[in-house]
Amino acid sequence: MNTQDTNSTQSPILVMTNVSKAFPGVQALRSVNLCVLPGEIHGLVGKNGAGKSTLMAVLMGITDPNEGQIEIGGKTFSTMNSREAIDAGIAYVPQHVAMMDSLTVAENILAGELPKNKLGFINWKKVNQEAEERLKQLNLQLDVTKKVEGLGVAEQTMLAISKALFGNARLIILDEPTASLSRADINRLFNFVKSLKDKGVAFVYISHHLEEVFEICDRVTVMRDGRVVDTCEVKDIDVPQLIMMMVGEGVEDYTRDSTCTDEIVFVLNKLTRRGYYEDISLEIKKGEVIGITGLQGCGAEQLGKGLFGLEYRGIGEIKINGKEFTAKKPIDSFNEGLAYLPQDRYRFGLVGVRPVKENVTYPILKRLTRLINLINRNEEKIIVDEYIKGLEIITPNQEQPVRLLSGGNQQKVVFAKLASTKPNVLILHEPTQGVDVRAKMDIFRIIDELAKQGVATVVISTEIRELIGICDRILVMNNGRLTHEYKKGAKDTTPKNILAAIEGGKQNHE
């Protein structure tokens, strides 16, 4: 449902109608409608995998939609290439700005059309003057003789926006522009952006910092699972409502019985990592399944990766079965009994071109090798077959490259890999992302089965209903701290309450 701005007599700068896009194995966009008005700052929010990036890719002409149309600058496109998108006035400002950073600000602004003197040689004085002039028109002051790589991030972003405007952009996509900005920087950036509204420039503002979205946006579109949940005026809703729209409803009616024992298996004591989380203390029992939920930026992702060894962990004590957990690399984590399922399956979870068999056994190869590093093929085949059967992985055979499997089956392969390491502790990051409904049930059953075998499981996810269904406890993480706890079966363990406990991804800036 698109809410039209009531006092708008202008026609929209951009109308995307019914845009759908599928990639092998995943439906990235489903009938998306988006409408942006001139002079509007239009927020676009949704968690990782909701489809924001794909939608922007379509808008920028990088990828073609399977269905739907894009109406921009008076023209209608069913497919568009990037040249056409730029000509239509669409510009993209990425988080890490793409400019010629070994050249000066002035040169970046005037690239390709540097002012010359009568002899045809470049007049650098004029170059700098002209650049300053242009920036002045936007009320921006920068040292134009400085190399771009020497600028602060806020300046680089503002410069990128300016460049886009000089290139006659009418719709600028800002992708997480405030990720590494201080409060003062953000103020400057926002003032700058707001000042451009009067010129009729429209912005699509992508961010997971919801409070900022409220600060600067006029309307906001929420995406989830490839669909637009709603588009609203920012003044008509508040952060909790926004969160409710962003976070998935999940699958109905899956519950499992608790398999929690009394034996404490996994202990975290005051785990702290500068900039991401602090004072994380937890005790998890054998067979217990706990959930950690929170918005992007709350630190849960870094915590998971840090525990496994994919990132720096910080300081603090960790014990598994009473023994200190010292692993700093993934292989050591596996050996010490901790396994991790990454959110980004394609980048961290699986080696796409290699077969199912290999992907399952990577971490346990040592166990399977006999003399001189040679793999015992028979034993391997048996183990992999067991997992294929046990997890109901649909694949023509063990040799199939995993990238040809469906999303759900790929995820099962990752589970097989983790299970084969016989972990004591399992950390799962968004285990049902990119998995179709039927496979989701399978995933829950797998988690249940592993918990029955005594694995202490941590599920980091924003699918609140799923968490309520499978977890013994749900912890809420905000701004790097664990702030709330909800027990299974308790009266206050409802999606509404848990959502309310999640803060809007505000970052501490001062």
């Binding site: 730029i86 890490h96 793409a98 400019m99 010629m100 950073d101 070994s102 050249l103 040169e107 970046n108 690239a111 390709g112 059309e113 540097l114 010359k116 045809g120 040689f121 470049i122 790589e149 020497g150 602060g152 991030v153 290139g167 990720a179 590494s180 900005l181 201080s182 702290t272 990592r273 500068r274 900039g275 991401y276 989380y277 602090e278 630190g299 990132e311 720096y312 910080g314 300081i315 701004n479 790097g480 970052q507 501490n508 800036h509 001062e510």
Partner: protein, 356 residues
């Protein structure tokens, strides 16, 4: 915000080459009287002119983010082609005995053709520039041998050898004359011209833009492929001029000439501040690199250091320059990470601040 000390450091790094040149001059001058003579200093430039023109070609390529490792063979090929057209049959040529001007034009045509092929393979066929130019280096070297049945062509007319081997004018000095080699003046002028192109023409700035970030350059409307093709044409042109210089100085052309030259060419450029990553450096700096190289060469041989220590020291100098280049450029990207961490308040109690 850059601190004062990091600014100072950056300035030193940028102009390091001139400090090195100065140091080398001082050291060798004090160690060896033979080094100090004006004769010798001019001779140094004179001898390395052909190297210098290749450095210019390579610098253009590197600034655009590419490499041209075929220049040493291109130099040999153009020199041999020129020689064959000029020399009499007794002196190893084909006997055409063309006018020097014609020979030079032919050489330039060959050089440009080489550049054309390189540019085409790299931009249109999308092949990796390192591999293409290495392969070309082999092919061209083979061609040199093929076209030179008699191994050496020599004794060229004065008009041809003047640029490489002749004197521009003579200054009376002491008992005799001090000859100012044309090559020495020429190479200085060439670097100045190259510098003007890079710094003061749209084309030159386009080269830097492409080298700095080809995608951003394209977005700015610069035709990156065209720029790169032109750069390789320039490099090819430089090969021809290099061939002219060396054939002129030696008054002969042999198939082996220029073998192994690619490393000093590369080294001089990198030491002079032309970054391997593209988009950085100046022609003046590259000239400094050339100077440093030739001073080292001249100074060490005057001191009668074994040629093989000279080789080894060159290699180490190249590695050092490459390492320094990497540190300089990659160092920029750590800043962004540090900024991110500095703005967050979470976990401030942690006293071990580690930057990964």
């Amino acid at each position: 915000m850059k601190t004062k000390s990091s600014n100072f450091f950056a300035i030193i790094l940028d102009n390091l080459i001139w400090l090195l040149v100065l140091a080398a001059l001082v050291i060798f001058s004090s160690l060896s009287p033979a080094f100090r003579t004006p004769n010798n200093l001019l001779a140094t430039l004179y001898r390395s002119a052909y190297l210098g023109i290749l450095v210019i070609g390579q610098a253009f390529a590197m600034m655009s983010g590419n490499f041209d490792l075929s220049s040493e063979s291109g130099l040999a090929l153009t020199a041999m082609v020129g020689g064959l057209f000029l020399a009499t049959t007794q002196n190893g040529g084909l006997g055409y005995e063309v006018a020097p001007g014609v020979a030079i034009l032919i050489m330039i045509a060959v050089g440009l053709l080489i550049g054309l092929v390189n540019g085409f393979l790299i931009t249109k066929m999308r092949m990796n520039n390192l591999i293409v130019t290495i392969a070309m280096q082999m092919i061209l070297r083979g061609l040199v041998y093929i076209i030179s049945p008699g191994a050496t062509a020599s004794f060229f007319p004065k008009g041809f050898t003047w640029l490489g081997g002749g004197n521009l004018f003579k200054i009376p000095m002491g008992k005799g004359f001090l000859g100012i080699p044309a090559a020495a003046i020429f190479i200085i002028l060439a670097f100045i011209a190259a510098h003007i192109i890079i710094k003061y023409t749209q084309f030159g700035r386009n080269i830097m833009a492409v080298g700095s970030n080809p995608v951003a350059a394209k977005d700015a409307g610069i035709e990156t492929d065209k720029v790169i093709r032109r750069v390789y044409l320039i490099s090819g042109f430089c090969m021809a001029i290099g061939g002219l210089l060396i054939a002129g100085r030696l008054d002969s052309a042999t198939p082996r000439v220029g073998a192994g030259l690619i490393f000093p060419v590369q080294a001089a450029a990198v030491i002079g501040g032309v970054s391997l990553f593209g988009g950085r450096g100046t022609m003046i700096g590259a000239f400094g690199g050339l100077l440093l190289w030739s001073i080292l060469d001249s100074g060490l041989s005057i001191m009668q250091v074994s040629p093989f220590w000279i080789e080894a020291s060159r290699g180490l100098l190249l590695l050092f320059a490459i390492g320094l280049d990497a540190i300089k450029v990659k160092g920029m990207h750590r800043k962004a990470l540090e900024e991110t961490l500095a703005t967050s308040q979470i976990g401030l109690q942690d006293t071990n601040v580690v930057i990964e």
